[in-house]
């Protein structure tokens, strides 16, 4: 018979927490998948255009920059391909990332009523977030696939490398989301600030301009960990000469996964403290 001990004196032990997460992972995964299915089914049930709404903001951003560039209000022509193609792909990939940052917090927030009532593996909600991000990302990628077909971009084996790149982009976004999560639950300021911050961060990432456009002091933006991932995903998709080595990408991927695991542990330790303050 299983025994559970809840004690004031028990120190949270990282290794033991990790083992507990591992043990409950299959249950958490099944539940998280079910939640994601529920959310995706329900989200667009009461709308006419449905999923299209998820695509409008990045497409609008792209449209603005295409217009600015065409009219020579700004001039960004170091892109190596059609600017329109370049910027649409960029904003789509950025929307994948920003969605991945906000989703973990949203998922916890939306499920607060059950979090304070039911004891279930909390990782389920992160798995829900992951699948929801993947779902929305696939829609974004369909747009990108459409441009590849329309613009007759040559497809090679390298093109498929975008898959791990996008996956790393998603996990990287979730890392930021997970690390922000405890603070965002305690202080709503973070939730208010996040959209604005992500907007600024987009311009600190080569989304509407190419890395080669950076000069002088602005080169510091290349240190942004999102940049190499997003840029290489775009390069592979558009058949451009990739500026990022596979090794760099693999390194970022590895660090991302380590931080993600740490984020899961942090979340589990934090959750009982957060639930006290949720008070629903």
């Amino acid at each position: 018979m299983q025994t559970q001990v809840y004690s004031a004196n028990s120190k949270s032990n990282l290794w033991r927490t990790l083992k507990a997460i591992g043990k409950e992972f299959p249950v958490a995964h099944a539940l998280g998948f079910r939640f994601a299915q529920r959310n995706i089914r329900a989200r667009y049930r009461q709308s006419l255009l449905g999923i299209v709404w998820a695509l409008i903001p990045p497409l609008a951003t792209a449209a603005i920059w295409i217009f600015l560039n065409q009219k020579n209000i700004v001039s960004l022509n170091h892109t190596g391909s059609s600017y329109a193609l370049f910027v649409i792909t960029g904003t789509m990939l950025w929307s994948v990332f920003s969605n991945a940052v906000t989703m973990p917090i949203q998922s916890i927030q939306a499920n607060a009523p059950i979090l304070v009532k039911v004891n279930f593996p909390r990782e389920a909600l992160m798995i829900t977030a992951f699948y929801e991000i993947v779902f929305t990302s696939i829609i974004s990628l369909v747009i990108i696939a459409a441009e590849i077909v329309i613009f007759q971009i040559p497809v090679s084996g390298y093109t498929l490398l975008f898959i791990p790149a996008v996956l790393i982009l998603i996990l990287l976004g979730m890392c930021f989301g997970l690390l922000l999560l405890p603070f965002a639950i305690l202080y709503k300021d973070i939730q208010f600030a996040l959209p604005a911050f992500l907007q600024i961060a987009m311009y600190a990432t080569p989304v509407v301009y190419a890395t080669t456009a950076l000069s002088g002091g602005f080169k510091i933006l290349a240190l942004n960990p999102v940049s190499p991932v997003l840029v290489s995903a775009r390069d592979w998709l558009l058949g451009l000469q990739s500026t990022t080595g596979l090794l760099t990408l693999g390194g970022i991927g590895l660090v991302t996964i380590i931080i993600l695991v740490a984020g899961f542990i942090l979340q589990r330790i934090a959750m009982e403290i957060l639930i006290e303050r949720m008070g629903t």
């Binding site: 018979m1 004031a8 009532k117």
Partner: protein, 414 residues
């Protein structure tokens, strides 16, 4: 599985939990707690910081299979906090909780429903949330629908459900659990009478198999369900006993006896209302305690500023749930005064009070009859309170005491 009656399934040892009164401080403390949880600093959790208070303080009990502990107390006494700790949602700041076996919580789960999805879809989501696999839900699905009495609505979106239907469906899913320890938080306050009875039957069925902890404000329900009682008081002391009735009486004793509304004319002024039993009177001791089966004497002193024709006093007894369960209308059988004026004392001796343990109030009314017409002089809701002490405390405020016998081989002729 081992099903020994003696195994202790719940062991709560000197458990305390503190909370912050202010939201801002709470957020800041939350951040600090987070830091010390992650980096494992040695802060003493048993010290109250500025603005904090003990929500639960030094509670201990243990519970075996087949036992049901009633957790009662006024709002804010810490019942829900304790329940959350038992459920592993929040951690105690002092003490240790040990739970053995599968823990189930019978809570109202309709909050987790997605309004746009059908009842069927929500059953699967909630079922999995409570730890069932998809296959198990498939098997139990019919039972869930039958229990919830949802019928054809099962494929409609939940937003079209009545609030009662939502609660029934949420509860029906939770009722399928087969836990070793069952936590129940005031779920039965909702739903119509038929559903409440169904839930009670379900809980009776589970009671023998589980160690149950039942949080409720509904005392008849507590006395029906529980074999033990734990009263959490506002001063953070606890009262525990196997005598559920005694605990309930203490709980009721913690409320101020507020007399209710007074409606009346200025024809008659009430000077004093007094209760007496076995030589003890309310004028000396405040609340009079009547032992079950003893007499209760009510004295009402009034001054009639104007003559009252053919007065008739009537009484109504209310229990803590504000149920009017007994009445007295026999005034004219004993007294038939043509007219009263000036100071007058009404006195009623009510023999053999057959009430169960608890606190009761008496509502006093006075009418006059003139030319065949009835006029109200006054009606004083819950004018006076008293306690009944009894070994008998059940559902019902009235406990009858018939004479029983067993006749072996009764002859059918006699």
């Amino acid at each position: 599985m081992m099903m020994s009656k003696d195994e202790i399934l719940v062991d709560v040892s000197h458990v305390s939990k503190k909370f912050s009164r202010s939201l801002n401080k709470g957020m800041w403390y939350g951040l600090k707690d987070l830091g010390s949880a992650v980096f494992g600093s040695n802060q003493d959790r048993s010290i109250l910081r500025d603005g904090e208070f003990w929500s639960v303080k030094d509670v201990s009990f243990s519970l075996r299979r087949g036992e049901c502990l009633g957790l009662i107390g006024r709002n804010g006494a810490g019942k829900s906090t304790l329940l959350k700790m038992l459920n592993g949602l929040i951690r105690p700041d002092e003490g240790t909780i040990t739970m053995r076996g599968k823990i189930g919580a019978l809570i109202e789960l309709s909050a987790g429903f997605n309004p746009l999805l059908s009842g069927r879809e929500n059953v699967y989501v909630n079922g999995q949330l409570l730890g069932f696999s998809k296959k198990e839900i498939d098997q139990k699905f019919k039972d869930i629908i039958d229990f919830a009495e949802i019928g054809e609505f099962i494929d409609s979106p939940v937003q079209n459900y009545s609030s009662g239907m939502k609660v029934r469906l949420g509860f029906a899913v939770a009722a399928q659990m087969e836990p070793d320890v069952l936590l129940i938080d005031e779920v039965l306050a909702v739903g119509d009478m038929g559903f409440v009875l169904k839930c009670l039957n379900k809980m009776d069925e589970l009671r023998t198999k589980t160690a149950m902890i039942f949080v409720s404000h509904n005392m008849p329900m507590v006395s029906r369900m529980c074999s033990r009682i734990c009263l959490l008081k506002e001063d953070k002391t606890t009262y525990q006993s196997d005598d559920v009735g005694a605990g309930i009486t203490q709980y009721y004793g913690g409320f101020r006896q507020e007399s209710g509304s007074f409606q009346g004319t200025d024809k008659v002024e009430i000077k004093n209302i007094m209760l007496e039993s076995e030589g003890h009177s309310s004028s000396e001791e405040g609340l009079v305690t009547v032992h079950h089966g003893k007499d209760l004497i009510l004295t009402v002193d009034v001054i009639c500023h104007q003559p009252v024709h053919q007065p008739k006093m009537h009484l109504a007894f209310y229990d803590q749930e504000q149920r009017n369960f007994a009445e007295v209308f026999n005034f004219f059988d004993h007294v038939n005064a043509e007219e009263i004026v000036g100071p007058v004392r009404f006195r009623a001796v009510i023999p053999n009070i057959p009430f169960s343990q608890g606190q009761y109030s008496i509502t006093i009314g006075l009418n006059e009859y003139q030319n065949g017409q009835r006029n109200m002089i006054f009606r004083y809701q819950s004018a006076v309170y008293f306690l009944v002490e009894s070994k008998q405390h059940g559902w019902s405020p009235i406990q009858l005491n018939p004479v029983w016998e067993i006749i072996t081989h009764p002859s059918t002729h006699s």
